[in-house]
């Protein structure tokens, strides 16, 4: 028994990522074709070379045929994956294990979401399963909003300080997004504007919430020993950890909404798989699931980037800025890159793919000598959450 991981067994050899935006002129089919085409070209392989596919989509299609039809795949295995907002990361995890097992030589994981066809702002739940009507009707914004006052009360952060901390996170991610041509929001936003935005839920204003965008991202992987057949600059998978919580946080009075146990557990597993002992010292950059600003705050502590009760100071001090000690969300994060649910987990890997190989645009390129990148992708809400944590590096060992 044990979670052993597949460190250095699987390599990423090519990726694609569409702009994330309100693609009024594109549906999931077009977005999938765009991302897949870019990934095939990036890896220098043809569609027919890829032996198996994993399609991650939370609500934009059912079954593997949601990919095999638009790509016109020729009797290839396609698995459709859904795991809330961590769907994209899950598609990679499953594809990577298939390649590591030796079952396939080349596999693609591709995520897509078309969220702007509902006629509503924000995300509209996909599940139409009949219910007894007793479930919560709360938005994700309202659920995550509960974390800020809980954290503030526990660690002595006043409401005014917390407003500044959350605004700083949003400001940082907008600053980074402004330097990313694929991002949904490519504009810096002032602290003042962020603080004075209309309230959505609890103390969260509109700039505390991630962008809602359509988009797709794709990755092509092979066994590590084959990587140099395709590219001189592969990126190796060091860890893929995943936790599905038992939803006890909203049933157990012991949970206090100041941390995410599922994220902490997934990080512990990922660090063990990758052999990371000092996350803050070893991780060069991280893409984390900043669906709402309080999420990024708590995630910094769950990932071990900051001691408990100190992440708010670190955010204010610029530790996680683009030029900070440990850049977090250098591509703008969910906040300004946008959040097409099934694609986001792979979009995060795409930024690691660019940054760790020195291919990120110069205006947002991080400066580091550290060798590892981390992506963190969650789904669900405080108290009931799934969490993915992945680690990647360009060197073996």
């Amino acid at each position: 028994m044990g979670s052993h991981g597949i460190k250095d067994q699987v390599a990423i050899i090519g990726m694609g990522c569409t702009p994330f935006t309100e693609h009024w002129d594109k549906g999931p089919d077009e977005l999938l074709v765009d991302a897949a085409t870019e990934a095939f070209a990036d890896a220098g392989v043809a569609k027919a070379d890829v032996d198996a596919y994993w399609l991650g989509t939370a609500m934009s299609g059912m079954s593997g045929m949601a990919l095999s039809r638009p790509l016109q795949l020729d009797n290839k295995p396609v698995t459709r994956i859904e795991n809330f907002c961590a769907t994209g990361a899950e598609s990679l995890r499953n594809a990577a294990y298939a390649v590591a097992s030796g079952a396939y030589d080349l596999a693609m994981a591709i995520g897509v979401e078309k969220v702007k066809d509902s006629g509503y702002q924000g995300l509209v739940g996909a599940s139409k399963s009949p219910t007894d009507g007793t479930g919560r009707t709360l938005t994700a914004a309202a659920m995550f909003a509960m974390c800020a006052p809980a954290y503030g009360a526990k660690y002595g952060v006043s409401d005014e300080q917390m407003r500044e901390v959350l605004a700083r996170i949003s400001w940082k991610n907008h600053y980074n997004g402004a330097r990313n041509p694929r991002a949904q929001f490519r504009k810096e936003v002032s602290m003042e504007t962020i603080c004075n935005a209309p309230l959505m839920a609890g103390g969260l204003g509109v700039f505390d919430c991630s962008g809602v965008a359509d988009g797709s991202a794709a990755v092509i992987i092979c066994r590590a020993e084959d990587a140099h057949r395709y590219t001189d600059t592969p990126m190796y998978i060091k860890a893929l950890a995943f936790v599905a919580g038992n939803c006890s946080g909203n049933a157990d009075p012991a949970y206090d909404y100041t941390w995410f146990p599922e994220i902490h557990a997934s990080a512990v597993d990922a660090y063990a798989q990758a052999g990371v002992t000092d996350p803050r010292g070893q991780i060069a950059m991280a893409e984390v699931h900043d669906c709402f600003t309080p999420a990024e705050l708590l995630i910094m502590e769950d990932l071990g980037f900051a001691e408990r009760g100190t992440a708010w100071k670190e955010e204010l001090a610029g530790t996680f800025d683009l030029k900070g000690e440990l850049p977090v969300n250098p591509d703008g994060g969910l906040k300004s890159f946008g959040h097409p649910v099934g694609a986001s987990g792979l979009r995060m890997v795409f930024e690691a793919w660019l940054q760790m190989r020195g291919k990120a645009p110069e205006q947002r390129r991080i400066e580091t000598t550290k060798k590892l990148a981390l992506t963190h992708n969650l789904g669900g809400y405080p108290g009931e959450m799934v969490s993915f944590c992945g680690i990647y590096g360009t060197e073996l060992g």
Partner: protein
């Protein structure tokens, strides 16, 4: 001895200042307030609240639930079964609706005293009229429940039930004439010129009064408390004046009809006033209830020694004292007179009858489960314990009467609600158990972490004509 074992009135939290109607329209309105059922209440959910209060004050349990309303939440489908489920009564307890007419409220009460069952009478009404109408300002929303039975014969509750007010007798007189009417599907009722009704009701009132006192073996000058009520304000006032003259003390005999604070609540009002009268009653008092609508019904009671030990679970008087004003615009939107812009979110789907049925105990009676080995409380009930992992080793944990504390709170301005914003709290229940649940009867800004809350039965929404009932939390007041 047959009579009243327990009673419970329910007056919703919100009040409309009648002067607001005048301010808004330049006409209509009046003095004082009327009660207003919340957007998430209907006659069934209010009936549940009244019935809970009624049963909380006694150990007796009914073998029948009789529900009456002139504004039932469902036609065809029985509403009493919802109340039955919320009270978690056994399946062999009957549940009947007797609705439609306002008179059904007093009718179901009169019938219960003539029955041999232990009957939980639940009456409930939401009253109103067109803006600026006399009905709009003079009426109110409320529910009341009376447990009727015999001494020490409390149905499944069995021994221990004591009659707090013996039913001495009564009389009903009926006559066909058009006074007040409403067609199915219409929201407003209409009334004939009041003077005509008065000429009909006064002689009927005399007749019923005399017959009832004779039937009860009581003389008028033995009557301590007199309740006279009905939608026909003019006839009620005249009859009350006429009948009270001959009572023990004419000045003090008349029970406050709550017109100034609650309004006339139609089907619910006779039982509501009876509940109210019992709250302050002493032993040995003769209480007479006179209901004036489509005839006159008179019920005569004498309180017993047992009333000394009776404490209303939620006194009507305290519900009247603990109220908050509602802006007239909100009132109009809650009653669907005006339609406000909803949040731009999808409306909920109808609930599944079969899923709801599987989860009846949770959905309607708020019964959680408790792991026998670890004691961990699971809301909703679960088969596998989150603490220790035992499988199918749970016992029922009824939570509807358990108080909780707000552990976290959030105001959701973007979620769908019939009356946004939603105020949501994570509630930790005394003795274990946590549930994120919607708060009601609150002003969003006033709720804090640490506030104490209690559960209340509400209608969350309706879709495809199916009402979705579940529980919300409200501040303990």
């Amino acid at each position: 001895m047959r009579g009243i074992i327990s009673a419970g009135g329910y007056v919703p939290y919100r009040r409309l200042q009648r002067s607001q109607i005048t301010t808004f329209f330049g006409s209509g309105g009046g003095k004082g307030t009327r009660s207003v059922a919340s957007f998430d209440e209907d006659t069934t959910s209010m009936g549940v609240e009244a019935a809970r209060a009624c049963l909380r004050a006694t150990a007796a349990r009914p073998d029948s639930v009789w529900f009456a309303s002139a504004s039932p939440a469902y036609l065809e489908k029985t509403n009493a079964t919802t109340i039955h489920a919320a009270l978690r009564l056994d399946t062999d307890v009957a549940a009947f609706d007797m609705g439609g007419a306002v008179r059904s409220g007093v009718g179901v009460l009169a019938a219960a005293f003539r029955s041999s069952d232990t009957v939980l009478v639940v009456t409930s009404d939401i009253r109103g009229g067109l803006p600026t109408s006399a009905d709009e300002q003079a009426t109110g929303d409320a529910a009341a429940a009376i447990l009727v039975g015999d001494d020490d014969a409390g149905g499944s509750g069995g021994a221990g039930s004591s009659v707090i007010a013996e039913y001495l007798g009564g009389a009903s007189v009926s006559e066909e004439f058009v006074d007040r009417w409403r067609l199915p599907g219409e929201t407003r009722s209409k009334a004939w010129e009041e003077k005509f009704g008065e000429t009909k009701y006064l002689p009927l009132g005399d007749q019923a009064w005399n017959a009832a006192l004779k039937n009860a073996g009581i003389e008028a000058d033995q009557v301590n408390r007199l309740i006279v009520t009905g939608p026909h304000t003019r006839a009620v006032r005249a009859l009350a004046g006429r009948l009270s003259v001959s009572t023990v003390n004419a000045k003090e005999a008349l029970v406050d009809d709550l017109a100034a604070s609650v309004g006339q609540t139609g089907t619910a009002h006779p039982a509501l006033l009876l509940s109210s009268a019992l709250e302050g009653a002493e032993a040995g008092q003769v209480i007479v209830l006179v209901s004036v609508v489509d005839g006159v019904d008179v019920l005569v009671f004498r309180t017993t020694e047992a009333i000394r030990g009776y404490r209303a679970a939620r006194p009507v008087a305290s519900q009247i004292a603990n109220a908050a004003d509602l802006p007239y615009g909100k009132y109009l939107s809650w009653r669907d007179v005006v339609t406000l812009e909803p949040p731009r979110r999808p409306e909920p789907d109808r609930i599944s009858a079969s899923v709801a049925s599987r989860n009846d105990d949770w959905k309607f009676a708020f019964v959680a489960s408790r792991d026998r080995s670890s004691g961990a409380l699971h809301m909703p009930p679960a088969r596998v314990s989150r603490d220790g992992g035992t499988i199918d080793d749970m016992e029922d944990a009824p939570m509807s009467e358990v108080i909780g504390t707000v552990a976290a709170i959030t105001i959701d301005r973007i979620a769908y609600s019939p009356s946004p914003p939603i105020v949501f709290a994570v509630v930790d229940f005394d003795g274990g158990g946590r549930l994120p649940v919607e708060l009601c009867d609150v002003d969003a800004a006033s709720v804090k972490v640490g506030d104490r809350v209690e559960m209340t039965f509400r209608r969350l929404f309706s879709a495809d004509g199916i009402h979705n009932y579940f529980w919300k939390a409200r501040p303990v007041r």
